[in-house]
Amino acid sequence: MPAIRQTPLFHAHQRAGANLMEHHGWQVPAYFTWAQKEAEQLSKNAGLSDLSWMTKLDLKGYGLKTPPAVGSARDWCLSPQHYLVTCEPTKRDALIANLRSFPASRDLSLPPPVYITDVTSVYAQFLLAGPRSREILRKLTSLNVSALQNLDCGQASLAHVPGIVLRDDLEGMPAFHILVSREYGESVWEAILHAGHEFQLAPFGLKALEFLGGGA
C-alpha cells in the first residue's frame, strides 16, 4: 500500500508550516505551533483541525427505519433511511462486518437491508471547537447552529457549498465536525479561518486533540 494518503489540506498545511505526522497512513498535522498552546487557544476561543482521515460510512436501505447499531461510532441521520457513520479508522472493519451481519432468518428474496459505501475520501472533515465556534459558524451558514444540540446533525450551505454539520462536544466545549465535498476542502478551510479571525481562531493539530483527551 502506498505510504502517503493526503487530506485535501496537505499542501495548505505545509504552507502554514505545520509539522506533519503519519496517522493511520494519512499525513496529518501534529501541530502548527505547539500542542499545549493550541489546546489552550482552543479552550479559550476556538480552534480548527483537519480530521479528513476519520472513517465515514454512508448507509442506505430499508433496514434503517431505526438507527443502525454502531457501538462506539457515531451515527447521524441525513434523511429518511440514510445515515452517515463516523468512527476511528481502527474500528472500520469490525463496524462494517457488524452492519453486514444480517440475521440468519432474513428472507433472501429481499434486497440487503443496508447498503454501505465508504465515503471517507468523499468528504473533507474539519473539527471546529471552542467557546466561540458558534459565533464563527453563524458567519458561514444559515443553519440555526444555536438550536443544534449535542449529537445533532444539520445540513445546509456552508461557505457557499453544501455542508454537513455534526455537533459532538469536546470536553464540555461546543465542537462541530464540518463535512464538505473534498474538492472544496481548501476553499472552505480558508473561509472558516477568515470568518474566525475576529475570534482568534487558529488551526490545531492532532497533538492538541490528544492533549484535550478527545478523539484521535
Partner: protein, 885 residues
C-alpha cells in the same frame, strides 16, 4: 456625554482634527467648527447637520474610502480618514455652487424635457455625472477590510432600543422568548438619551436585559428590510476591527417593531441653510455630545415641544431670541449659514433656527411587512394598521402619543424654488407644484416624476411634506392622497454589504498542486480549476504547447486529470431498471465488467447530459457525468426514483475519487508496469472495466476512448491523487509521456467527432439531429423522452450537427456564423486547428437541406468569409481501430 478626558485625532480632508471618545464623525467635526457638511445633489447648496439621527442626507461623507457614510451615526475612531463629497475644491468653497444660479434652466423633469434625443443624453451624461451626485464608488479590491454576512434566528426580533423596545424585550424575555434586539444607536435608550424631559434612560431594564442569556443585543445596527417569512435584513456597522459592515440575515418567528418616531422639517424659503436644524438634532448635540450648537436661537414650533426645547437651549447657555409659528416664517436668511429669520414683522437675527417639526412614525418596516398606513387627522400622521400575524408595533411608532404640529394638508404652502421638500435631490415646493400642474397629480406618479422620496433618505424627510403639498394643490385630503410604498432597502445599504465577503468557492482536484508545479495554465470550469495546458521549456505559445501535448497522445502517451467528472455510485437490485428508465441506452442487460455510453434526455427528447455507465456487479453501477451536470443528474435520477419503491441507492462519490485518463499508443506499456491486471485487448477489451490495484492503490479501470486512442480512465481514492499521478508520469518517462490539459483534450476529441453535450448541443438538440440515433433504444417499452424521440426518429430533421474541414488556413471561432449561398444557415459549435488534417476542423449545426456530404459552406472568420466542406465521418481514425488496439 462625551468623555473629555479621552481625546484622539483623525483626519478631515487632510487636516488633523481632535475628537473625544463618544463622538460621532459629525459631532467631532461640528465641535471643530465645521458647519457645512455636504453640498446638495443638484444645486451644490451648502448643507449642515439637520437630524443627527441618520435619517437625513445632510452629513454623508467618505470615511476610510467608503462613500456616502452618514457621519452623524458613525463613531469616529483614531486615525480615521474622512473626506468630503460632491464639492470642488472644498465644502466651504464649491465652484459648482454656481449651478444654482441656473436653476431656472432645470425645471422639474428637465431630463425628460431637454434630453429629447438619444444623442443629447449621451453628450450630456458625462458632465451631469461629474456635477451632480453623491460619493464616488471605491476602486474594487482596495482596502484590507471586508464586508461580511451572518445568519441569526430569533423567536422574537425587537427592532428599536428605545423605551418601548426595551420594555417589549424585557416582557418577552421574562416570558422565556429568545430575543434579538436591534438598535441603530451606539447606546440603548432611544429618545430618552437626549430628551431629558421625557424621563431617564431605564438603566435597570437595560442591565436586566444584558444579564439574560436568551437576549442578544446588537447596537449600531439598523434593519433595512422586513421580508416575507419575517426575514429581516440588518446592517451592523463596524462589527469588529476587520470588517466594515456585517449584513445579518435575521429570521424571526415574531417581530416587534419599536422604531419610534422621527421629526421632519418645515418648508419655508432657505429651510436648508446650515444652522436650521431639527429640535431633536439640537437636543442630541447638547445632551449626547456636550456641544453648544449656537449662541442665539429662534424656535419654530406649533406649540408641541417648544417649551421642552427652550429649556434645553437655556440650559446650554443659548439665548432664545424668538419662538415663531411655522406660518409666520417667510424665509431663513444667510448665504452659507443662517443669520436670521424673516417674518411679516421684519427680520430676527440668530445663528440657530430650531424646528420643532411634525413627528412621523418610523413605520416603513411595518408597511413592508404588509401593514397599511392609514391617515389620522387627530395625530397628524399615517399610522400603521392591519398588521400581519407575527408582526407587532410597540411604542411611539403606533402613533398613540402623537399630536399634530401643523395643519395637514397645509392651509398655505410657500411655493418657492428655494423652499425644499426633498433634501436628497433638491426637490422644492415649486417643483412639486409644477409637476402637479403638468398632470402628475397622483402621489405615486409625482414621486416618479420629481424623484421625491427616492433619494438616500428614502422619503423620511420629505414624504409627509410632499403628500401635504400634493393634497393642498389637488384639493384632496391627506387620506385621499395616500402614501408612497415603502420598499426595502430602507435606509440604503452599501452594495459591498449585499455582495458579502470576497470568498468564492473553488473546487480543486486532488492533483491540483502537482499541476501547479508542472506549469499548469489554469482555466475555470464552473467552480473547478482545470489545467488548460502546461507551459514547458520546449514550447512558447499556447498553440505550440497544446500541439506538443496532442502529439504525445497521438504518438506516445499522455495523461490528463479528469477528476472533475461527476461520479455516482448506484447500488441496489433495481439499479438497472432505473437506468433503463432514465437513460436512452439500455443498462439492465449490460454485463458486469462492461461499460456503455449513453445520453440523458428530457421528455421533449432534448439531450441533457451524457456519460459512461459501468456495471461493477449485478447490483452495482458506476456513472460518470459531465463536470457541470453532476448535481442535475443526481437529482434527476432521484426524482424518477421517488415513489417507485425500487431498491436503488445513489451516492455521490465525486470528491472521493481522483480520475485520470491515460491514453496513447503506448498507454498499455506505461500502465502494465504498475498493475498486475491483464491489459491485453483480449482480457480487457474496449468498453470493459476492471477493479485492480495500480501502484498499490485500489483503482477502477475503464477502457474508454474520448480522445480516440487506446486508453484507460483510472478512478482511485482521492487521497492517493498526487501519489498515483506521480507514479504514472514516472512509469511513462521511458515513453516520453506528457500531462495534457483541457485544450489538447478538446482538440483530440474533436478530431474524433465526439460531441460534448452542452457545448456542441443546446436546449433544442435531440440525438437524431445530433447524429447519435444509435444511442436511443426505442425498442425499450418506456424511458424518459421515448415518446418525443419516437416521433423525432420519424420526422424530417430541421438541422443537423455536422463535421466540417476548412478549405484554407482560417480557424473559425466557436459560435461563428455559417452561410450557404449567402444566407445564414447555421453556426459553429467547436473548431480547432487539427494537426492531423493540417487545417481547422469543427462541428456545426447546419440547416438540414444543406447538411449533406461535400456541401460547401462559408464560415465568418475575423470579419471575412472562409470556405469549408462538410464531411460525414470522424476526421481521425473513423473506423475506431486505434481505440481497440
Amino acid at each position: 456625554m462625551a468623555d473629555s478626558s479621552d481625546r484622539f485625532t483623525f483626519q478631515f480632508d487632510g487636516e488633523t482634527l481632535e475628537a473625544r471618545s463618544g463622538d460621532t464623525v459629525a459631532s467631532a467635526l461640528y465641535r471643530a467648527g465645521r458647519r457645512i457638511f455636504t453640498r446638495s445633489f443638484k444645486y451644490h447648496r451648502p448643507r449642515g447637520l439637520l437630524c443627527l439621527a441618520g435619517k437625513c442626507p445632510n452629513c454623508m461623507m467618505n470615511v476610510d474610502g467608503t462613500p456616502n457614510v452618514r457621519a452623524c451615526i458613525t463613531p469616529v475612531r483614531a486615525g480615521m480618514a474622512v473626506r468630503h463629497q460632491n464639492a470642488y475644491p472644498s465644502l466651504d468653497h464649491d465652484w459648482l455652487a454656481a449651478v444654482q444660479r441656473f436653476d431656472g434652466l432645470m425645471p422639474v423633469g428637465w431630463y425628460y424635457k431637454t434630453m429629447t434625443h438619444e444623442w443629447s443624453w449621451h453628450a450630456a451624461e458625462p458632465y451631469i455625472r461629474k456635477v451632480a451626485g453623491l460619493g464616488i464608488a471605491p476602486e474594487p479590491g482596495n482596502g484590507s477590510k471586508d464586508y461580511e454576512h451572518a445568519w441569526m434566528n430569533a423567536e422574537t426580533a425587537v427592532i428599536g432600543g428605545g423605551p418601548a423596545g426595551l420594555q417589549a424585550a424585557l416582557e418577552l424575555g421574562q416570558g422565556g422568548s429568545q430575543i434579538v434586539l436591534i438598535d441603530d444607536q451606539p447606546e440603548l435608550g432611544g429618545h430618552l438619551r437626549y430628551r431629558k424631559r421625557a424621563g431617564d434612560v431605564p438603566a435597570a431594564v437595560i442591565a436586566q436585559l444584558r444579564s439574560m442569556p436568551s437576549v442578544e443585543i446588537i447596537s449600531r445596527a439598523y434593519c433595512f428590510g422586513l421580508y416575507e417569512g419575517n426575514l429581516l435584513g440588518v446592517l451592523h456597522a463596524n462589527p469588529h476591527a476587520g470588517a466594515i459592515e456585517r449584513l445579518i440575515h435575521l429570521r424571526a418567528k415574531r417581530v416587534v417593531v419599536a422604531t419610534g418616531v422621527y421629526e421632519v422639517p418645515f418648508t419655508f424659503e432657505n429651510n436648508d441653510l446650515p444652522g436650521v436644524m431639527l429640535s431633536t438634532g439640537v437636543q442630541r448635540l447638547i445632551h449626547l455630545h456636550g456641544i453648544k450648537p449656537g449662541t442665539s436661537a429662534v424656535i419654530v414650533a406649533n406649540g408641541a415641544h417648544a417649551d421642552e426645547v427652550a429649556d434645553d437651549l437655556r440650559g446650554a447657555g443659548i439665548e432664545l431670541v424668538a419662538v415663531l409659528a411655522p406660518g409666520e416664517v417667510i424665509s431663513a436668511t444667510g448665504s452659507s449659514h443662517v443669520t436670521g429669520i424673516r417674518t411679516q414683522n421684519g427680520e430676527v437675527a440668530c445663528d440657530l433656527v430650531v424646528m420643532c417639526g411634525q413627528r412621523v412614525p418610523d413605520a416603513g418596516l411595518l408597511h413592508q411587512a404588509g401593514g397599511k398606513l392609514a391617515w389620522s387627522d387627530e395625530r397628524g400622521a399615517f399610522l400603521p394598521v392591519d398588521l400581519p400575524a407575527n408582526v407587532k408595533a410597540a411604542g411611539e411608532v403606533t402613533g398613540a402619543s402623537l399630536t399634530r404640529a401643523m395643519s395637514l394638508p397645509p392651509k398655505h404652502v410657500p411655493f418657492h424654488k428655494r423652499s425644499f421638500v426633498c433634501f436628497c435631490s433638491d426637490v422644492s415646493t415649486a417643483d412639486l407644484r409644477d409637476g402637479i400642474s403638468e398632470g402628475f397629480d397622483h402621489i405615486e406618479t409625482l414621486k416618479r416624476y420629481t424623484t421625491l422620496t427616492m433619494g438616500p433618505c428614502q422619503g423620511r424627510m420629505c414624504q409627509l411634506a410632499g403628500i401635504g403639498a400634493c393634497a393642498h394643490e389637488t384639493g384632496r385630503t391627506m387620506a385621499e392622497t395616500g402614501v408612497t410604498t415603502s420598499r426595502p432597502p430602507n435606509p440604503s445599504v452599501t452594495l459591498g454589504a449585499l455582495a458579502g465577503p470576497r470568498h468564492h468557492p473553488i473546487r480543486r482536484t486532488p492533483m491540483h498542486d502537482a499541476h501547479d508545479q508542472s506549469g499548469a495554465v489554469w482555466m475555470d470550469m464552473g467552480e473547478w480549476k482545470r489545467p488548460r495546458y502546461y507551459k514547458s521549456a520546449s514550447c512558447e505559445s499556447e498553440r505550440s504547447c497544446v500541439e506538443e501535448e496532442y502529439r504525445a497522445v497521438r504518438e506516445r502517451a499522455g495523461l490528463i486529470d479528469v477528476s472533475t467528472l461527476g461520479k455516482l455510485d448506484v447500488k441496489g437490485r433495481d439499479a438497472g431498471k432505473l437506468l433503463d428508465k432514465v437513460y436512452t441506452n439500455r443498462f439492465s442487460d449490460l454485463k458486469p465488467g462492461r461499460v456503455r455510453y449513453s445520453v440523458l434526455c428530457d421528455e421533449a427528447g432534448i439531450m441533457l447530459d451524457d456519460g459512461t455507465i459501468s456495471r461493477l456487479a449485478e447490483d452495482h453501477y458506476f456513472i460518470t457525468t459531465t463536470t457541470g451536470n453532476l448535481d442535475f443528474v443526481q437529482q434527476w435520477l432521484e426524482w424518477w426514483l421517488v415513489g417507485t419503491g425500487w431498491d436503488v441507492h445513489i451516492t455521490n462519490v465525486t470528491g472521493g475519487r481522483a480520475a485520470v485518463n491515460l491514453a496513447g499508443p503506448q498507454a498499455r506499456d506505461v500502465l502494465k508496469t504498475l498493475t498486475a491486471c491483464d491489459l491485453s485487448s483480449k482480457a480487457f477489451p474496449y468498453m470493459a472495466c476492471r477493479e485492480a490495484e495500480v501502484a498499490g492503490a485500489p483503482a477502477l479501470l475503464l477502457r474508454i476512448g474520448f480522445v480516440g486512442e487506446t486508453g484507460w480512465e483510472i478512478h482511485f481514492p482521492a487521497e492517493y491523487g498526487e501519489y498515483l499521478w506521480a507514479r504514472l508520469l514516472e512509469a511513462g518517462k521511458a515513453y516520453d509521456i506528457r500531462p495534457f490539459g483541457v485544450e489538447a483534450q478538446r482538440l483530440l476529441r474533436l478530431e474524433k467527432r465526439h460531441v460534448i453535450v452542452g457545448v456542441d448541443t443546446d436546449a433544442l438538440s435531440n440525438p437524431y439531429e445530433a447524429g447519435m440515433a444509435w444511442v436511443a433504444k426505442l425498442d425499450k417499452p418506456d424511458f424518459i423522452g421515448r415518446n418525443a424521440l419516437s416521433r423525432q426518429a420519424e420526422a424530417a430533421p430541421q438541422q443537423n450537427l455536422v463535421g466540417f474541414v476548412m478549405n484554407d488556413d482560417a480557424v473559425p471561432q466557436d459560435g461563428a456564423a455559417i452561410l450557404v449561398d449567402g444566407a445564414l444557415a447555421g453556426r459553429v459549435t467547436s473548431a480547432r486547428y487539427s494537426p492531423k488534417n493540417g487545417k481547422a476542423v469543427g462541428l456545426a449545426w447546419v440547416a438540414a437541406k444543406s447538411a449533406t456530404e461535400g456541401t460547401e459552406i462559408q464560415i465568418r472568420v475575423n470579419g471575412s468569409t472562409a470556405r469549408a466542406r462538410i464531411v460525414p465521418e470522424a476526421f481521425y481514425d473513423p473506423a475506431g481501430e486505434r481505440l481497440r488496439m
